[in-house]
Amino acid sequence: MDATTAPRRRSSRLRGLFLGIALTAVAVLVAATAAGGTYAAWSTTVTVPGATLSTGSIGLTVNDVQQYSVPGMTDIPLLPGRSVVSTTPITARNTGSVPLRVTVGALTVPVGDVLGQNILVGVRTIAAGQSCTVTASGIPASSQPFSLAPGATAALCVEVALKADAPATVQGRMVDFGVALVGDQVRP
């Protein structure tokens, strides 16, 4: 040990001493803090045989498509107080997994069309295997809601009438109209 290294060794010993004291203080502080709080001690987990849940679906088609154009509506010209009907019923199908209550939405016609404002449309269910016929009075009955179970089908007739008091300006005209079938889920 020479004169130049002795003070350095002494200072390094002192540093070690202080570090030891500091660490002790930290350990005491940590222990005291932990004891004062809330913490988990024991913990155990059990697993049980669960499963995967899937959600169902809702779906409604007309003749198996989302939008269907009813044929034969222009075969017979409309007259005031008379109606026309497509002979072959259309088929509404519930393609989802929930029971539906099907309502017939409002008639849609081009805005301002004079013929469109003077027609009446009725959608009704008929028994399977039957053909659609015009209503004797010439005024189709108002559309009624019907139920459709999952996978079930309903035969529908679409009947269009020209109001008896239609003005002469509707003569010789054509109009595209639309009717929406709205299916709402119902609880069994």
Binding site: G16, L19, T44, S54, T55, G56, S57, I58, G96
Partner: protein, 202 residues
Amino acid sequence: MNKLVKGSIATAAGVALLLGGAGTFALWSDTAGVQGGTVQTGVLDIAPVADTAKWADVSVNGRTGATFNPATDKIVPGDTVTFTQDVTLTAEGKNLKAELALATDAAKIATAFAAQGVGSVTLGTTVKSGSATVVAKEAGKVFTVTPGAAGATGASTSTLQVVVTVAFNAGVTEQTAQSLAAAVDLTKLGFTLTQVRGANAS
């Protein structure tokens, strides 16, 4: 590191010297033995009761009480189904209290199903037998379980019925969350019992 050890030793030596300097040295010495006894640790365990897992359809206006087969049945708006499982709780120890909750990753919920107001997965539990008490700490999520008096074996054993409820809100519109193959995945379903101290222990 060496310095650290030396420093610690020096501190200890210093403390010992300080303590020693304050008293007097006795020449006579005597020792008396005290029978301290043996200290034992307790037990905290949760285990499933075999053949008690079952699914049920508990929809308010539907097939109430009917069985539900998750492999084939699909849930639709308005449905509420439950998974029920009995578990045995074994606890032994003074001041032992625990919280029961769904294990981490117990339920994977599809984003569309988890969306606000669409569907929910909640936990419930009731004491089926035994003297344990259950108090909801966080409704539908966490329950504080206090084991009852110890039985003949020294441990407190109770049977809890744990119910996981999956509900599909009837108020959703249009085609919200339809055709989800994995709306709620409970294949890793588990329950965790975690001992609690401090504010929760009395």
